[in-house]
């Protein structure tokens, strides 16, 4: 009885991560071709990512429902609830970025597009590590390995910060108008913020590890 309750939530979290990965993969694909996309294409991207975000949200609601039914211990419930909210924030951020590009019909310069792709590529590695530690905390983990992975996630976040700052410096050194600079700076920040969300998530996982002790 207890096994089924615990396993059910673990399965749903795995499903949520799957949906987040799907949404993120779609988002990366969109961002790779964004500088050449038409307004109609951007509208399509927005609809599609909105749908993917809804799928991830559905799973999140199912998890919350089970947590509210008392399927886990209180401490675990609180930590897991916080963790799944942060996981959802990853997709929300992707959706937000695509939405902003569509609503403002933003023209992304090639240099900025390239920087965004670099950031997303680094963040993709970070997301892979995150998936690994979240699944481990829902099954079984080695403390040493987890600490190493969490440290790598933090290091990747620092790398993303570096690319982000460099991209903004180059943007403001370029010939584009101030309005466009501000627009694109905002997008660079938002894209870089995904790495921050993932890093915060790894902190949540660390908290779960701390509560799971004698």
């Amino acid at each position: 009885m207890f096994i089924k309750k615990a396993d059910s939530i673990a399965s749903l979290i795995e499903l949520q991560l799957q949906k987040v990965n799907e949404a993120f993969a779609y988002y990366i694909g969109v961002m790779e071709g964004i500088e050449n996309s038409s307004k109609e294409q951007k509208a399509e991207y927005m609809k599609e990512i909105d749908l993917l975000e809804d799928y991830a949200d559905d799973v999140r609601h199912q998890i919350i429902k089970q947590l509210l039914e008392g399927r886990m211990l209180l401490e675990s419930s609180k930590s897991f609830a916080s963790m799944i909210e942060h996981i959802d924030d990853v997709v929300n951020q992707c959706e937000d970025i695509v939405e902003e590009i569509y609503l403002q019909d933003m023209k992304i310069s090639p240099k900025v597009a390239s920087a965004l792709c670099s950031i997303n590529s680094i963040t993709e590695k970070q997301l892979g590590l995150l998936e690994k530690i979240v699944l481990a905390v829902c099954s079984k983990y080695s403390i040493v390995e987890m600490q190493q992975d969490i440290k790598k996630i933090e290091e990747i976040e620092t790398d993303v910060d570096g690319v982000e700052h460099q991209a903004i410096k180059e943007l403001f050194a370029s010939e584009v108008s101030l309005a466009e600079k501000l627009q694109q700076k905002e997008i660079i920040r938002k894209v870089g913020h995904i790495a921050d969300i993932i890093e915060d998530l790894s902190d949540e996982v660390e908290i779960i590890m701390m509560t799971r002790r004698v």
Partner: protein, 313 residues
């Protein structure tokens, strides 16, 4: 059931309503166990504990009460009424109170006017009050050390963690309920049993157990919620180790035949775990509350019992 036993039944009901929180309070708060499951298990195992292991406490306490001058139906009724009122009023005033200590105080108070109050015979009970939290402290210290060594590596396993904690709380709660029934049933019906012959030992265990169970089933929710939260385990495992240590301490005294306070055993058990982990768990307020219970509860119950003796007897 003789109407003289009603005051004991009132005390039993209050005991069940209050003390069940010490057993399943933390389990319900941490959602290891549902409230409905907790009260049903508590009621069943309190009755089992009372009927299977409650006779020693009833025999010892009834002997002490009868020899101390509680040798008539009305005297027994008034003693239990004094103890019940003391516990009820102190609970309402949110003062620390122990049912076991209130009963002893009421018995001594009831015998003062006759000159039969035997302080020397009460030493065995008084010493148990002091040893209870210390015993629970030592037991929890040892159990926590052993459990830490055995399970700490397995705690990284999600399934194991959830199952172990829940199972631990259920086992601890069941044992706690059994010990509560075995130890505290004497508080409820002992003065009516023994040489007074108002009820025989067998029926005393049954009636006492059932009245405690009724208290658990009808009025434990509010206390369980607040006490469960305020006990705040140092960790989930520490939470059920506190209950196990309490249950073991109380059970030992059930076998000896001396009713003791589960609340004070809980405090001792928490201190024991704090000593093991190095966490600060000894607070002046807690110690002050225990000392007040040792001195204040029997004194107040004794005075109430003395007053009843003066007025009615």
């Amino acid at each position: 059931m003789s109407p003289w036993l009603l005051s004991g039944a009132f005390l039993g009901w209050g005991l069940g309503a209050n003390d069940s929180a010490n057993i399943f309070g933390t389990a319900v708060y941490t959602k290891a166990v549902k409230y409905s499951t907790a009260v049903i298990l508590t009621a069943i195992f309190v009755i089992l504990g009372a009927t299977l292991d409650g006779h020693r406490g009833i025999e010892k306490l009834s002997e002490f009460a009868f020899a101390g001058g509680i040798n008539s139906n009305i005297a027994a009724f008034l003693v239990m009424l004094s103890a019940a009122l003391t516990v009820a009023v102190m609970t309402v005033l949110k003062l620390p109170v122990s049912t076991s200590q209130a009963v002893i105080g009421a018995i001594l108070g009831g015998g003062i006017l006759k000159g039969t109050a035997n302080l020397q015979a009460s030493v065995q009970f008084l010493s148990a009050w002091v040893v209870t939290p210390i015993g629970a402290m030592v037991i929890s210290f040892i159990i926590y050390g052993v459990v830490s060594k055995v399970v700490s590596e397995k705690m990284t396993h999600f399934r194991f963690y959830e199952i172990f904690i829940r199972t631990g709380y259920i086992f601890a709660g069941i044992f706690g309920a059994y010990s509560l029934g075995a130890n505290n049933v004497a508080n409820v019906t002992a003065v009516f049993a023994g040489n007074l012959h108002l009820v025989d030992t067998r029926w005393a265990t049954i009636i006492g157990g059932v009245t405690i169970a009724i208290g658990v089933l009808t009025y434990s929710k509010a206390v369980m919620s607040t006490v469960g939260e305020s006990i705040v385990p140092l960790s989930p495992i520490a939470g059920f180790i506190v209950v196990i240590a309490t249950a073991l301490t109380v059970y030992v005294y059930a076998r000896i035949g001396i009713p003791v306070s589960t609340s004070q055993a809980v405090v001792g058990a928490i201190i024991g775990i704090g000593l093991k982990t190095g966490a600060k768990s000894i607070h002046f307020k807690v110690v002050r509350n225990i000392v007040f219970a040792w001195l204040g509860t029997p004194t107040i119950a004794g005075l109430v019992s003395l007053l009843f003796s003066l007025i009615i007897l």
